[in-house]
C-alpha cells in the first residue's frame, strides 16, 4: 500500500509537469489555433532560466590561493562570487543556494517577453496558414532555440539543485497514519506538485473570474463572434501566448532540480506533451490537466518492478498504449471539443 501511495505521488509529480506543459499548449491552440511545436523548447528555456540565474549569482572573480598549484603547475586560483563580496559569505551563499526559487521571479519577465516576441514576430503571420506550415515553422524555431542553448551551455545536463532547506525529505507516511519512515518523499517534489497545482488553479481562476479571461474563453469557443463584438481579440491572444510561455517556463524552472536541464529536453518533451494534450481532448483545458495527471500516474505504476516483471517492456510503451485506448474509445479524447483540429 505504501508503495502505491509513493507511486501516486510520483505520478502526480510527473503529471504536474505534463499538465503544466499541456495547459500552455492547449491555451495556444485553443485561443490562437496554432500548433506550437516550440512549446517543449519553451519548457527547456524555463529550465535554463534557472541555470542562467544560478550562473549569474555565481559570477566570480579570481583570487590567487597562495602556496597551491593547479593541474598544470601554475599558481592555483580560487573563484569568489561577487555576491559574497556584496552580501558577505553567509548571505551570499544562501542567495546562491536559493537560485531556483529566485529564478521564478527571474523567469516570468523573460518568458513573457519571449512569448510576446514569438507571437508578434512569427506566430501571428501563421494564423491563417495550414497547420502543416505552423508545425514546420515552430519546429524550426524549436531547433534554433535548442541550438542557441547548446552553443552557450553545451549538451551535458547541468545540475541545478534545490535549496538546501527544501532538498530534504518529508516523512509523508506519518501524515497518513503510517509508522515513521514508511513513506519518505523528497520535499522538493512536493513543492513542485503544490506549485503546479497553484499555477493551474491560478490560470483557471484567471480565465473564470476576470473579464479578460471571459473574453478569451469566449474567443476559444467562437473566435468570429467575439471579433464581431468589436473586441480586439488579437491583443488578448498575444497576451495569452505570453501567459502560455510563462506557464511552460515556470514548469521548467521548478523542474530543473528534478531533471537536470539539457538542451535536448525541449524535443524530449515535445512529443509527450502533444500526446497528453490530445488524450485530454483538443481545446479542453481541464482535459489537458486531467490527462497530464492521469498519464503521469499510469506511467509511474507501469514502472513498478512487479508490473515490469509481468509484462516486460510495458514501461516503454504504456503512455502510447493508453493514448491509443483512450482515442479509440473516446473519439475526441477525454474532454475534447467537437471540430477542433479534426480535419
Amino acid at each position: 500500500m505504501d508503495q502505491i501511495i509513493v507511486q501516486i505521488l510520483n505520478g502526480l509529480d510527473k503529471g504536474s509537469a505534463y499538465a503544466l506543459i499541456a495547459l500552455g499548449l492547449t491555451l495556444i491552440f485553443g485561443t490562437l489555433g496554432v500548433v506550437n511545436f516550440a512549446h517543449g523548447a519553451l519548457f527547456m528555456m524555463g529550465a535554463f532560466c534557472a541555470v542562467v540565474l544560478s550562473r549569474i549569482l555565481n559570477l566570480s572573480h579570481e583570487v590567487t590561493v597562495p602556496g597551491e598549484t593547479d593541474f598544470l603547475g601554475n599558481p592555483a586560483t580560487k573563484d569568489v562570487p561577487y555576491v559574497y563580496d556584496w552580501f558577505g559569505e553567509a548571505a551570499g551563499a544562501s542567495i546562491i543556494d536559493w537560485a531556483v526559487p529566485l529564478a521564478i521571479l527571474f523567469s516570468i519577465p523573460i518568458m513573457v517577453a519571449l512569448g510576446f516576441a514569438m507571437e508578434r514576430g512569427l506566430i501571428k503571420h501563421f494564423y491563417k496558414r495550414p497547420h502543416a506550415d505552423q508545425i514546420l515553422v515552430t519546429f524550426g524555431l524549436a531547433i534554433v532555440l535548442g541550438e542557441v542553448i547548446k552553443y552557450y551551455f553545451g549538451a551535458n545536463p547541468i545540475q541545478t539543485p534545490a535549496p538546501e532547506a527544501l532538498s530534504g525529505r518529508v516523512d509523508f507516511g506519518v501524515w497518513l497514519g503510517y509508522g515513521p519512515n514508511a513513506i519518505v518523499y523528497p520535499m522538493w517534489r512536493l513543492v513542485y506538485f503544490f506549485f503546479s497545482a497553484a499555477i493551474i488553479a491560478g490560470v483557471f481562476a484567471f480565465l473564470q473570474f476576470t473579464t479578460f479571461g471571459m473574453v478569451v474563453r469566449a474567443g476559444m469557443a467562437d473566435r468570429e463572434t467575439v471579433g464581431l463584438l468589436g473586441i480586439d481579440i488579437d491583443k488578448r491572444f498575444t497576451f495569452m501566448f505570453g501567459l502560455a510561455a510563462a506557464v511552460a517556463g515556470l514548469a521548467g524552472v521548478m523542474y530543473a532540480p528534478i531533471v537536470s536541464p539539457a538542451y535536448t529536453m525541449g524535443m524530449d518533451w515535445l512529443v509527450l506533451s502533444f500526446v497528453v494534450v490530445v488524450v485530454g481532448g483538443m481545446g479542453s483545458l481541464p482535459g489537458a490537466v486531467l490527462a497530464g495527471f492521469m498519464l503521469g500516474i499510469i506511467e509511474s505504476f507501469a514502472s513498478l518492478p512487479a508490473v515490469v516483471d509481468l509484462l516486460p517492456g510495458i514501461n516503454q510503451i504504456i503512455i502510447y498504449l493508453v493514448a491509443i485506448a483512450i482515442l479509440l474509445t473516446r473519439p475526441r479524447g477525454l474532454m475534447g471539443r467537437k471540430g477542433v483540429m479534426e480535419d
Binding site: D133, L136, I143, V275, M282, P312, Q316, Y320, I324, M341
Partner: protein
C-alpha cells in the same frame, strides 16, 4: 524546374490526353524526363567542383549520399501520396520504413543476399503493417489520427530498442555477420556475405576522372535510382488517376464524398497502405545499399523528418517531396562535415584577424551547429515560400520567363 500542382489548370482534358508518353500528359512526361535525366546524371550534377579544391566540400556525388537522396526521395514521395493528397498527417511513417528495413535484413540473413527478394519482402511486410496501423488509426481524423500513428511508431521504436532485441538487435541493430548463411546464397564459412543483385555487389563503382574531376558511378545508386524513378512514375500516375482524384476529394470534403456514394475511409486506407509500402521500399533499399538497420530509424524524429521534407519541398506537388528530401539530407551530410579547419582553409586569403572573425561567425552555422542552420532554413522557407521549395522554383521560373503565372497557385 516547374512542377504541376494538384491544381486543375493542368488537368484539362485536352492537354492531358495529347502529346505525352507512358500514359502521361506532355507536361508530366517532361517532368518525368527531367527527373530521369537528373537522376541518371546525378554523379556529374552533384560533383560540380574539382577534387582537392576548397569547394569540393560541397560535392555530394558520392555513392552513400546519392543513395540517400533517392531513398529518402522515395520515402517522401510515398508520404506525399497520403499527406499531400488526402491531408491526413501521419506522424509515424518512420515505423514502416523501419519495419521494411528489418524485413529486408532478415530476408538477407536467412534467405538470400540478393536484394530483390529483400526489397519485395520489405514492401510486403511494411504494407501489411501499414494496413493494420491504418485500419485502427483511420477511425479518427485530424490531430487524433496523427497522434494514433505517432503512438504506434513510438511503440515500435521503444520495443525494437529494448525487449525485441533478439529480433531487432536492439541498440546495436542488425548487420550481416560471418555466421549468417542465407540458404540460397553460398557463403564460404566465416566470410561475411554482401548484398548483391544476381552476384553484382551494391558497392561496385565505376570511376571516371575528367581533368581534376572524379565522378563515381555506383551500381547500388543506379539500382536505388531505378526504383525511385518507377516510384516517381507511379506517383504521377496515382496523382492523375481517378483514385488520386478521390484522395484529393477526401482532403476537400469527406461529407460530400459520403453523400456521393463513396467511402472516404477506404480510399484513405488504401492511400495509407500505398504510402506505407513506399516507406517499406525505402527501408528495404536502405538495407540493400548499406546492410545495417537500427531502431532509431523508427524514432519520432525520423517520422517528423519525412513530414518536414514533404512540407519543405511542397506538399501535394509531385517533385516537392524529392526536393525537400534532397535538401535535408544534403545539409545533414555536407554541413555537418565542415569544421573550423576547413573554414580556415577557405578563408585563408583574408587577413589574419578578419579570417578569424569570419571563421568564428561561419562556424555558428556549420559543423556541430548544423542543426542551427537547419532550423533557420525551415523557418525561412516556410515564412517566405509558403508552397515550399517548389514555389521558390516556380517564382524563379516565372521571373525568368517574365510570364505572369496565373495558374501557379500555392501548392497547399
Amino acid at each position: 524546374m516547374t512542377d504541376q500542382t494538384t491544381q486543375p489548370s493542368v488537368t484539362s482534358p485536352a492537354r492531358a490526353s495529347k502529346g505525352g508518353m507512358f500514359g502521361l500528359s506532355s507536361k508530366d512526361t517532361t517532368l518525368l524526363l527531367v527527373v530521369f535525366a537528373m537522376v541518371v546524371l546525378a554523379p556529374f550534377i552533384l560533383n560540380p567542383f574539382p577534387e582537392g579544391s576548397g569547394l569540393a566540400q560541397f560535392n555530394a556525388g558520392y555513392p552513400d549520399l546519392m543513395q540517400r537522396f533517392v531513398i529518402f526521395g522515395i520515402f517522401a514521395i510515398g508520404f506525399n501520396i497520403l499527406f499531400g493528397l488526402t491531408g491526413y498527417l501521419s506522424f509515424g511513417h518512420a515505423a514502416f520504413l523501419g519495419v521494411g528495413s528489418y524485413a529486408a535484413m532478415w530476408s538477407m540473413k536467412l534467405f538470400t543476399l540478393n536484394v530483390i527478394p529483400g526489397i519485395l519482402f520489405a514492401v510486403i511486410v511494411a504494407g501489411l503493417f501499414a494496413a493494420a496501423v491504418g485500419f485502427i488509426s483511420l477511425r479518427r481524423s485530424g490531430i487524433y489520427f496523427s497522434i494514433l500513428t505517432l503512438a504506434f511508431a513510438q511503440m515500435s521504436y521503444a520495443l525494437a530498442y529494448s525487449v525485441l532485441t533478439p529480433l531487432t538487435g536492439g541498440e546495436t541493430g542488425l548487420q550481416i555477420k560471418n555466421t549468417d548463411n542465407p540458404i540460397l546464397s553460398n557463403i564460404p564459412e566465416g566470410e561475411i556475405g554482401r548484398a548483391n543483385l544476381f552476384g553484382a555487389q551494391m558497392g561496385n563503382s565505376y570511376e571516371m576522372a575528367v581533368g581534376n574531376w572524379l565522378f563515381t558511378f555506383n551500381l547500388g545508386y543506379y539500382i536505388a535510382a531505378a526504383f525511385m524513378l518507377v516510384a516517381f512514375y507511379l506517383s504521377i500516375r496515382i496523382f492523375r488517376s481517378p483514385f488520386g482524384m478521390m484522395l484529393r476529394a477526401v482532403k476537400s470534403n469527406q461529407q460530400r464524398m459520403n453523400y456521393t456514394g463513396l467511402t472516404p475511409k477506404t480510399y484513405t486506407l488504401y492511400a495509407f497502405i500505398i504510402s506505407g509500402m513506399y516507406a517499406g521500399l525505402a527501408g528495404g533499399l536502405m538495407v540493400a545499399m548499406d546492410t545495417q538497420v537500427g531502431p532509431e530509424r523508427m524514432f519520432w524524429t525520423a517520422s517528423g523528418e519525412v513530414v518536414i521534407m514533404t512540407i519543405l519541398g511542397g506538399a501535394g506537388t509531385l517533385i516537392g517531396p524529392v526536393l525537400g528530401a534532397g535538401s535535408i539530407k544534403y545539409m545533414e551530410n555536407i554541413l555537418s562535415k565542415i569544421n573550423k579547419d576547413v573554414l580556415h582553409q577557405w578563408f585563408a586569403f583574408l587577413p589574419d584577424g578578419l579570417e578569424d572573425a569570419v571563421v568564428v561567425f561561419a562556424d555558428i552555422f556549420v559543423g556541430k551547429q548544423w542543426h542551427f542552420t537547419l532550423g533557420i532554413v525551415f523557418m525561412l522557407v516556410v515564412i517566405f515560400l509558403p508552397g515550399g521549395l517548389v514555389e521558390g522554383a516556380q517564382r524563379i521560373t516565372a521571373r525568368f520567363s517574365r510570364k505572369k503565372s496565373s495558374n501557379n497557385t500555392p501548392a497547399e
